[in-house]
Subunit: 242 residues, 2 copies
């Protein structure tokens, strides 16, 4: 099914058969888009939301000089701009990092969901709050950690999220981003990200080359970044809104 990865590893099992069907029916169309493309522009009115099926996307804001701050990464199964449903206009841009395949979910159908499927509604709501929880952790990361901690934290999070959707093999996962992207996410310069990656490599904690991340020592990364996956609300943690 199209929506198979939605909330995978995050309490998807709370969805009933009818919930799953209602969600599946809310997808009007499946489309593709190339890498490094703008999908939704800040301030533009949106009528649909986007369920990412394959590829990597990100949300970002540019400063006055055009320097980008990435505020979120999105992996398959993520409802990238579900918040557009209740907000109508977004306060940031959404773009692709890699080629993507995504489902188009018209807001009209979501309105119907909220009127007929209260539990599914709460789960959709929950999924937008996961984003907020990740935002908070990024605030912590930027506010309290040094460069190494920030980068390590980013890899810890992506490793955990990739694991939930079964994209991690042997501690390795595909992450087709550049060092510039990492810098833009971590509030650093690409030059410094380069130095940090070298340092992490020399600690035998992580390698990142050719768009492939290999976790060598998760414990070291977690210690460096004070990472605690609680905020990802994985299924191993007891959840609410059932």
């Amino acid at each position: 099914m199209i929506t198979d990865l939605f909330l995978r590893g995050r309490g998807r099992e709370r969805m009933s058969v009818t919930d799953i069907q209602a969600l599946e029916d809310s997808v009007e169309d499946v489309r593709t888009l190339g890498p490094r493309q703008l999908l939704v522009e800040r301030g533009r009115e949106v009528q649909n939301s986007t369920l990412l099926l394959e590829g990597l996307m990100c949300r970002y804001m540019d400063d006055r000089e055009g320097h980008r701050q990435i505020v979120a990464f999105h992996v398959p199964g993520d409802f990238v701009d579900l918040h557009g449903f209740t907000m109508k206009r977004l306060d940031h841009d959404i773009g692709t990092l890699t080629p993507v395949r995504y489902g188009v979910v018209p807001h009209a159908r979501l309105t119907t969901v909220t009127e007929s499927w209260p539990r599914l509604t709460r789960l959709l709501w929950f999924s937008t709050l996961l984003d907020a929880a990740m935002h908070r952790e990024w605030i912590f990361r930027l506010g309290r950690l040094g460069a190494e901690g920030r980068v390590a934290h980013m890899f810890c999070e992506l490793h955990a999220r990739m694991a939930m959707i079964e994209r991690v093999t042997d501690g390795s996962f595909t992450l087709p981003v550049t060092q510039v992207d990492i810098a833009e996410a971590c509030g650093l310069t690409s030059v410094h990200v380069n130095r940090v990656l070298r340092s992490l490599r020399e600690r035998n904690a992580l390698t990142f080359k050719g768009g492939v991340a290999r976790i060598l020592d998760l414990k070291v990364l977690e210690t460096l970044s004070e990472f605690d996956p609680l905020y990802l609300y994985g299924s191993d943690v007891e959840l609410g809104a059932g």
Copy 2:
């Protein structure tokens, strides 16, 4: 009414009389709490959500050494931990800055709301997404701005939010926080916050003394911090989810 400030200045007018009544009825009790108290502890299971009626609260996370990162401020009218409704456990602590008065909203009543009042449900959802939008702006602030920009940004945001609930007189508003609090919100040391505040004062942009902020030149603050209030989704901006 108890819930008068909820979504004030943020599209409250979209609430119908019955929505307002349903929300009002969801408040089980009104309580008070002293300053600098913990209201909800990270990881603890929650059964109620908190509608702040009077006073200031904040959400924060501590690092390994006990250094606090404030991830959100809350002013009257804010549903401080509505996300607890669908998340059940919170990933951060919630505490008071000043003495507060707040409404207790049992999750059971919220479940009923989601089953009977789809539009109110969407508005509650929307209110949690406002927090997420503010989180994103804080990420931007920490990732892309220097110390002056961060502090200026914080004051711009609080000024705008206080204005929405009519707590600004003549460019001044009460903000009973210390320089340490500001530092913990902006990812700086209190020593440096002190220097920044002096600098902003010398620019004739802002004074902050004795828990009172006075905006002298909003334009300067907005320029310094690249502040754009779009993300606050004020009523002057067209909104969705009607």
